[in-house]
Symmetry: C2
Subunit: 239 residues, 2 copies
Amino acid sequence: MTIDRATLLSVPIFKGLRPSVLDRLAAIAELAEARQGTSLCKQGELPSWLHVVLDGQVTLSGEAPDGTNAVVEIVRPGGYFVLAAVLANLPYLMSAKTVTRSRLVLIQAAALRELAESEISVSQCLLRAAALDFRAMVRQVRDLKLRSTAQRLGCYLLALVEAPDARAAEVRLPFEKGLLAGRLGCRQENLSRAFASLRDFDVETRGAKVVLNDIPRLRAFALPDELSDTLEKGDPANQ
Amino acid sequence: MTIDRATLLSVPIFKGLRPSVLDRLAAIAELAEARQGTSLCKQGELPSWLHVVLDGQVTLSGEAPDGTNAVVEIVRPGGYFVLAAVLANLPYLMSAKTVTRSRLVLIQAAALRELAESEISVSQCLLRAAALDFRAMVRQVRDLKLRSTAQRLGCYLLALVEAPDARAAEVRLPFEKGLLAGRLGCRQENLSRAFASLRDFDVETRGAKVVLNDIPRLRAFALPDELSDTLEKGDPANQ
């Protein structure tokens, strides 16, 4: 399926590219659909495509040589993967799989590298995207090293709140709890324990709905970072 | 202090730049020396410089709002920090401090962004550096989510072995154990426990010297990743 400028412009990382550059990008891109549970790329393989998610959800996970698996990231619409592997032409460090039926833009990896070598606006937009990707991972490393599971969960929930000054809010978990546990770097039973500890901070859970009755109290416990980036990407906790 | 092409070329990320581009880079760079314990940049501040380490060691650490501190990375000669903040002109997510007396190249952040906007070879080399930085952080996230502290320590020690096919080796810890604990994401007492567990895998510790008597056995326990990148950066465990 061919792709049009408007679709590309709807992807945050491509905002600001000139129409002629968007056309060059469209010429090396195609639309794809994937059913739930489709493997899109595999750890250890060289990248053929930069994947951009238009609809749906995709997990990126790393596997240890003994087969243990960890969700590193969950990519949502507007997000992409795995830019660093595509740019450096190095094997994927993570495997990608659709969590739900998904619609994607696939951009040819080698052609994208060539385009970035000749078109500085593309090089620059990828540079900014790579910088923000790095910062998202730094946040995860800091989070894993500095915070308890309950605090990590608290920060995650707070990041889902849209109104910046709300004192209470109802949020919806964007994916099921098994995935959330992986994203937060804990086992599912520890996630349940973390939800239980957050009850002390007026957090109520009803399935995928979570009610934060006292946001200032939860903030005081979870201590979210004040520093957030602006470009919308897939995972709200990585802003 | 002014800086010459040869010094810039000794920095892995700048390899391959044309002499005329190196001169433009030199024009916005300067040499600096810093004593042990000098704060070089502070979390939350906007970046003024890209720092490149020529000699010495620098810790990058993140601080939670309650003052808890975690070493995210230790930058060694040839490494740099914090590229992503400089490129995106966003506040530092980490603070940097010298561990030892250090010699650095400081490159003006705004001028570097301008140079990257007009000179595609600079944009391209920064793009590759940013991609490798991202991959180093992905490795840490995977490591923290997939491996025990003893396994993480094992992987770290294995990454210090220079001969790829050695069956035994003696390595030197590049920094003191307090820092190593931070880098591995554990408390110092857990690091001691991890060293103790590795005795079962024929790992002997004598101060900063560590003897790996049976590398295949240690590998089978620690399960290091097979996927390593090529560009030399500061931290051997992030290759």
